[in-house]
Symmetry: C2
Subunit: 362 residues, 2 copies
């Protein structure tokens, strides 16, 4: 089985790695030469919009997916006209626009922070008045890892924020006080069968995910998150893995955004769950039974940003699992991740502390 | 880091898969086009003895290993003269000749079944008298999975056996009564650090490994096996993973043979141990700290011989992990394996029974 993957980043690489034992060959399309995925599959180096490249993929492959949510919807739709593509271009389109995404949440009764579309400075000032400050002005499209966002702390900030981002489609979102960010990794196959991983708790540093690990079990919270996740999956007639980011607030869970793909906050599932998110994405799009999502034991994942720590020193810490994406270093760039497993929480904490020393040093 | 691997079978494929997250790129040499390893690395299609191909590998790679024990020792030695190669050509040579292998065991005080070199029919008759019958006449070289072996049940069988195998270097081995076959997967790095997995119990069908799983813990047996394994590793100044096959007899453990490589009886370590045998082989040859070898829970591995069962039906059984090597079917050929994990032994047995139905049907 040849699987076309639009995007050959580390997510594509890990999908391809999960696919090899299942007899799946990955064929990537990515404009970036020598992308991480190319280590585990063939790579066509071309723009996503390149129709000839998409045609070639569709003759070589029987099925298609993507590894990031900024794939042009047109390209996805074109490919989907030739071979089955999951998740659907419609789900992709919904996730690419913060306004459509939040409106979808609202229509499904999934609570969110207050938000409002903003198309002029006057609208921004009015929205800031209605939503209240602090709030965050965001581009509706192509934002990630905190990019394309400006904080408004007082109404005087409106003009500067508009100056910085105006001219693009924008949304103003209220800032909500939350205890922590959680994410729910969910999978759904064409039959409607769904599977949900235990909620993960995420810690960011400088707007970028730094650590992710399964949250302490909380059945009510898990049930609420899964109810929201199921509504979203069913509404989108979704096929594949989806990540739903949630804020854990005093008033309950608020949905922040969803990613129509495997997600950084699910990397711990490779060693920490019976079935990884990558394998479950493949099972879902191939319409195979979904795999168990239960934990195999205590674990946590740390991202390696800007520089990879020395592999030998990391591996000297018991229970470490190194994932080097093979990318060239650049300040703040996600170069890899390390998952730490342990027989119990006490050992996990010890090991994470030892790892912290190496991540700081590097 | 580019790693040259002589042989691109399923063992090479799984080594390469373990290498990608560690930042290791595999470059295979294998005369067989489209070998399993080629899905996870570059493949040079050439004979092992092809000096130009070996030269090319040595300029592209910083380190070398092999995935099967019938690599010509000359080729390994030639490559080892250019870049570090682990395990050493000496260890490879010892394992290729049953007489040298058994003589080595004997010299290290590691018990074996009685054996004797046989170079003529007269010597065969004499050896059969000394060792006693039943016994097995084997070629000293290139035997695997029961090939190159003839059973002698009575002295009248000698002539026919000699007729069948005579003209090659031969060894006569006494047949010992054993409860079960065990294997010890061991790893050693240049510093001398060693690691041993829990003993695995192997069940054969038609001379080919059918099932392998961690044996019930037996500290005395484990200690005895590890003592033998350590003597062997140290004597060979071994670097990498080695598999030692043992017979569990009334009188204790007898060594049958060793393989200077990752081994089919260690495939369960991918999901069933904290660190897989493949990752530990890479850690050993890269002189990185060895990973934990403890079990993650109950598990067992079944080989898929001749035909792969339907993936979707296998995955409908909880805890199954499919490994399809991507080889074309042929009667009796090892096409893949399936590891079953479970939270407890009762579930493991249920799941294995469900799998048995699919393996028989396929």
């Amino acid at each position: 089985m040849n699987l076309a993957i639009l995007g050959a980043g580390q997510l594509g690489q890990m999908l391809a790695l999960a696919g090899v034992p299942l007899g799946i060959k990955a064929c990537f399309l990515d404009p970036q030469p020598d992308a991480p995925g190319s280590r585990v599959g063939a790579q066509l180096i071309a723009d996503y919009a390149d129709r000839a490249a998409l045609d070639r993929l569709s003759t070589q492959c029987q099925l298609a997916t993507f590894d990031f949510e900024n794939v042009p919807v047109d390209a996805a739709a074109y490919l989907a006209g030739r071979i089955p593509l999951h998740p659907s271009p419609q789900a992709l389109a919904q996730s690419q626009d913060r306004l459509r995404e939040k409106t979808l949440f609202r229509s499904l009764g999934i609570p969110t922070a207050p938000f409002q579309a903003v198309d002029s400075l006057a609208e921004l000032v009015a929205a800031a008045g209605q939503i209240g400050l602090p709030a965050i002005l965001k581009t509706r499209r192509f934002g990630y890892d905190g990019k394309g966002q400006v904080w408004l702390r007082e109404s005087a900030d409106c003009a500067a924020a508009w100056h910085q981002l105006g001219g693009q489609d924008l949304i103003l979102e209220g800032v909500v006080a939350f205890r922590r960010e959680l994410s729910l990794i969910a999978a759904r196959r064409p039959s409607g069968e769904t599977a949900f991983y235990p909620l993960a708790e995420n810690v960011h540093r400088g707007g970028v995910l730094d650590m992710s690990r399964p949250a302490l079990p909380h059945p009510a919270l898990q049930a609420q998150a899964e109810a929201y996740g199921r509504r979203l999956l069913d509404q989108l007639d979704y096929v594949g893995v989806l990540a739903l980011e949630l804020f854990d607030c005093a008033a309950g869970l608020l949905a922040n955004e969803f990613a129509p793909r495997v997600h950084n906050s699910g990397h711990w599932t490779i060693e920490g769950a019976v079935t990884s998110q990558f394998e479950n994405h493949l099972r879902a799009i191939l319409d195979w039974p979904l795999g168990e999502t239960g934990l195999t034991g205590p674990c946590a994942m740390r991202n390696c940003l800007g520089v990879m720590p020395d592999t030998g020193r990391v591996l000297a810490i018991p229970g470490t699992h190194v994932h080097d994406y093979g990318k060239s270093p650049r300040p703040g760039r996600k170069l890899g991740h390390i998952t730490v497993t342990a027989p119990d929480d006490a050992h996990l904490i010890q090991r994470l502390e030892a790892l912290e020393g190496l991540l700081i040093a590097s």
